[in-house]
Amino acid sequence: MGTAVFYLVAVVGVVSALAAISHKNPVVNVLSLVVTLFCIAVSYALLGAEFLAAAQILVYAGAILVLFLFVVMLLGAPEEPPAGERRPFQRVAGLALAGIAAAGSIAVLAGIRAAAPAGAVRGTAEALGRLLVGPYLFAFEFISVLLLAALVGALMLVKRKH
């Protein structure tokens, strides 16, 4: 059951990721990426990371991609201009490099032989919370400072000068 779900989710995730980077319309790009991120959330759930699966949907689909959609709408959904012949080399080189990265990493990862079967972890909210306010308390508090700095920085960047 879990195996079939994973392969379905992997295929859907890769196809929608391809749509997210290749379609010309930015709204379609953002919405395809939502599908990919949902597929990743299902993968988290299959890996036993229950809290992260919920956080993935809340943070990414609920906040980050809505922000993307807002900006796309705000800028009037600017279609990418037709790929002029200004950079004919760039597209080929970029695709070739990404293909080499994919082939190389898959060749390496497929060669891994696990010494032991995967352990069973359950990333419930309680277990993660105990880690967050235990050994990772400083990092957890520092993240809030980082988010505040990003908030102030984003406000300063878009503030109109008078």
Partner: protein
Amino acid sequence: MTVPTTHFVIFAALLFAIGAAGVLVRRSGISILLGIELMLNAANLALVAFGRQHGQLDAQVFVFFVMAVAAAEVAVGLALLVAIFRKQRSIDVDRLNVMRW
């Protein structure tokens, strides 16, 4: 009957390569940010998969932090895009050549 860790990390590697292709090929600033998001998520997935392999929860805490940093990154990146669009009336990164000597 669990899915082997290798299959999860190969899925993550494919998503990472697709995101990298998006960053390298697209010229719209929004598409480049989307590619970065895809790469961050692929790295997160690999982290969770390897964490399960080792039976440790720490990887999931790191993924939580990466999500928070990604949220901050997107907020600043999109604010930069809006500021650039106001100045240039375009988010085509090929036209951002004011720092070229």
